[in-house]
Subunit: 236 residues, 2 copies
DNA sequence: CATTATAATTGTACATGTACAATTTATCAA
DNA sequence: TTGATAAATTGTACATGTACAATTATAATG
């Protein structure tokens, strides 16, 4: 683990141990540097990481403060940055509806940038959050990049398998969202009625080297899913 | 404007001028440093900015590449700038339904962290995108922080006024999203029917010093709004 | 000719140091 | 007290430099 990531984790532990709340002040930068025995660069990167993650905010001339959302029960839809420890407090289960290796369907080709006739794993599963139906997920993995999958893996966390077992480095993703009325076919799986509202999110996942490897369409159950995003403004 | 922001803008211009497409390679880091005559730190920060923005991606040992989404007509959901910045290619109009200065409503107090009886500007407006109804927006600004607003400002971009005229520094925001069925009161404004699907986004905007100044609830027209998010890092 | 080992390329992590801008605190005049 | 003003505090911008990891290109090997 990188030093600045490690430092960030330690600062989170510090916040936890001292039971710091929204708006509470952390030790001053120089103090933090001494306390955690790292250079200014490393501490700055660690703090920047925590700031993007939504854990703290920094005010020049004033100090470093804890940032916490007070609402519970929201899913972090996009942790717009690096750590993956988001849904730990929830119980996530999966039921696999179908699992097959097929030639890449026509309408998926352009999303995955795959060659015609290339093989993909096509997976359809329902995901549960704390016992409730959260969403229906249809996903397609390019076999060129993900050579092997089986039903057992698919019942667990696919991404964890990709990272640990296959050593793939997942980079960035493009997400397209829209709201609409449920068609009957999907409504049945979610135990809802046709015409009920739904949020649909299409995502194209890329490796760190930019190659797309996974296209997925997720339809969320509108009663069992709500999302929080902690944004840090100012692009330019 | 800061040097690394300026540099980022220049790199965007470079990409534009050379008509670089998805996956095209930019000059090597050292070359960029010489070309734009900045230090390594500055160039790195500029590139990091563009990476978070979704303009490029960097691959160690390989190079810096252009990242572009190929879909059109999607709204960039996350930027604390309101719509005005990222929707330049769209025509955004506003119709003000109501505008008043009132004591902060009970249910808003905890979101804004305001004192009881504190005055807020309450604004309700419909926003149009390319002539179509995009959303209904209800927003509340604390008068403590935003001392003056008028109907003319509210018909234009409020955030631009806050930044330029008032010199406020907008920092971060917490967004809460959920999907549901439209109540009749809102459906009428969006020219939809009660029970139609809708995406509702509540946002609490903060200044850079952490003080919340604006709480807004936006209900999107499901047929005239779809969103894109270019995310870095992973989840689930 | 495919494979493997080696070297060159290229971006990232990390350290140190200077200057400065935003904020807070202290000081002083009226 | 109040209000202005100066000083101290504190985080950010920026420069330079070293070491290193991931990738790609090249050479060596069978």
């Amino acid at each position: 683990m990188l030093k600045y990531q490690q430092t960030a984790t330690e600062i989170e532990a510090y916040i936890e141990q001292h039971a710091l709340q929204q708006g509470d002040k952390l030790p001053v930068l120089d103090q933090l540097i001494r306390q955690f025995a790292v250079s200014k660069t490393t501490m700055t990167k660690a703090l920047e990481l925590l700031e993007r993650k939504g854990t703290i905010f920094q005010v020049r001339g004033s100090g470093i403060f804890v940032r916490k959302t007070n609402r519970k029960g929201y899913i972090e839809l996009f942790s717009t940055q690096g750590f993956k420890q988001n849904l730990v407090e929830h119980d996530i289960q999966s039921k696999v509806l179908s699992f097959e290796l097929i030639p890449c369907p026509e309408e998926i080709i352009e999303n995955l940038g795959s060659a015609p006739g290339e093989m993909v794993y096509a997976i359809k599963r329902i995901r549960y959050i704390d016992g409730n139906i959260m969403c229906l997920e249809e996903s397609y993995y390019r076999q060129t990049i993900v050579p092997y999958l089986n039903r057992e893996i698919v019942e667990q966390s696919i991404f964890e398998y990709l990272e640990t077992a296959l050593g793939l480095n997942i980079g960035f993703s493009d997400m397209y969202m829209h709201v609409g009325k449920l068609p009957d076919s999907i409504a049945q799986h979610l135990e809802l009625k046709a015409g009920d509202p739904a949020l649909t999110v299409e995502t194209i996942f890329h490796l760190t080297n930019g190659r797309p490897f996974d296209y997925s369409v997720i339809t969320y159950h509108y009663e069992h899913s709500q999302f929080v995003v902690q944004a840090n403004g100012l692009y330019l």
